[in-house]
């Protein structure tokens, strides 16, 4: 051994604990303190849990993809909502994110299908119409399978960017001759759809208006 005295030599890679803390710390809403707590929980719980967690993360990341129709997340070609024959095919609700979709589903108020944009237009963050799944919606609406669509409900957030995205979408949809509506914004300004309670969501849907 080259390093026979008590001074440890340079390590061969990054400290595994610090690396785990750092990777966990990149998750939204997780600060360094929480990341450290999570890391030590994983290490304390043992190898079995660590392997299960790693496998679950990998499985999900490898298998989950965008639904070919509505851009919801799924592990099949089409998501469970698109596959559900009981959903009304005449109405599509456009949302910014999957959590927004989930929030509307929780209200049990909406029986149509969705389209997830995965964001909103945001000039200040360099997000233009091409960076969100907007073209996918226009393409989808031009297919024969979607010829029964009579109404598009735009449920983007009531923020400035969400509002502008809704208005832009209205312009893009106008040539298709499909009725376009906007949910009522009963929510406090800047309030996100994701955090609205079911009652507020059903009110917002019921109070939608043509734009």
């Amino acid at each position: 051994m080259a390093n026979s005295d008590s001074t440890p030599g340079p390590r061969s890679g990054p400290d595994p604990i610090l690396r785990l803390v750092q990777v966990l710390g990149r998750l939204p809403g997780i600060g360094e303190k929480t990341a450290t707590r999570l890391a030590f929980f994983i290490l304390r719980t043992g190898l079995g849990y660590a392997e299960e967690l790693a496998q679950a993360v990998l499985d999900a990341a490898r298998k989950v993809r965008f639904c070919s129709r509505c851009m919801n997340l799924t592990d099949e070609e089409f998501c469970s909502i698109c596959r559900d024959a009981r959903r009304e095919i005449g109405v599509i609700c456009v949302v910014e994110t999957v959590p927004d979709l989930r929030a509307i589903e929780r209200s049990h108020e909406f029986r149509g299908r969705y389209h997830v944009l995965h964001g909103a237009i945001a000039p200040l963050e360099g997000v233009g119409p091409d960076q969100i799944k907007l073209r996918e919606l226009l393409l989808r609406l031009s297919t024969p399978e979607e010829s029964g669509v009579k109404e598009i409900i735009i449920a983007t957030n009531p923020s400035v960017d969400g509002e502008a995205t809704a208005l832009y979408l209205k312009r893009m949809l106008a040539p298709l001759g499909i009725r376009t509506t906007r949910i009522a914004s009963g929510m406090p300004i800047g309030g996100d759809f994701e955090y609205a309670d079911p009652a507020t969501i059903s009110q917002a849907l019921a109070g939608r208006r043509d734009i």
Binding site: P123, L167, M172, P188
Partner: protein, 371 residues
Amino acid sequence: MRILAAELSDFRNFEEVALRFSASRTVLVGANGQGKTNLLEALYMVAGLRPLRPVPRAELIRHAARRAKVRVSITSEHSGLTHELELELFKTTRRLEKDHKRCDTQSFLGTFVAVAFTPDDLQLTKGSPELRRRFLDRAILNAQPSHLGNALRYAQALKGRNRLLAQDASDDLLSSYDEVLAKEGAKLMAARESYVRALEPVLTEIFEHIAQPAPRLVVRYSSTVPPEVESRSPDALEALLSSLLEKRRTHDRHRRSTSVGPHRDDLELFFDDRPVKMRASQGQHRALVLALKLAEIRMVTERLGEPPVLLLDDISSELDRERSRQLFEAVEALRGQVILSTTDERQVPAPPGTYFYDVSQGRVSPRPSSA
């Protein structure tokens, strides 16, 4: 309305400070740069969620700290209620609590109403239009808390549109931001126009009382959206602003900035028919600034049914002796709570019941009589 106590942590140069306030007058004494203004600003932030002058959020957080926190307890004679307000500022977000429960901007604002009078205000009548727009927006906010959200949305839509202009974005995309801009802008203009209409008679009366002899004062909200129609309702203004934005689009694309809207408007002041900027003497400027602040205070007092808390930042040294006397006379008549800072305590009248604090290097110590 009165502040009973305030606690600051990591706000500007203050690590931890706790203060109790006199029901009538509290005087913060200290040399310049010791933090007197920062104390007043902390209180002002809780009232209106804006600093005294626009600065990046990070400047309000003490060096090396993660967040700044200000907590105040407020009591209102009008409602008979006491409330605890807590504001936490992080570098990119803020967190609001009212009575120990997390709340949104709408329910936070309006609980604590304060009017500040700072040396910056002395530029109000001769400085840039931005100062007068800020004066109007801050005065309106005291009566109408939704005005802040409205102003912020307008500012965001404006930045978005300007970015799109710089990127040569499509007409469809620009039109979408124009629509949002017109809607928010119209609300902003309607609120300012109606405030200025209400302000004019109050301001004129106060100015005539203060400045003798007083020239004939005319006050006007001058808008980049000209009064083509009789009705200045938000709907009519929205339609007007919207058509102007469209007309100006080519011009704006060249200049990469938006040439119409409330961000270009001004509160114009005239003596007879000539702009105050060109016409007024130093003394008249000071008298008019004082009249503007006193008019703001009177209007918010009428609206609330009780005086707001007044925050006076080293103002005696900026006003001449006569204006200073008139200010304190008006303040006295209001019977409200005043918190003021000064470098020289002999300059400020201190009736019985006044608390004194010495402010030095981010530390605040009460004088024995205040404890």
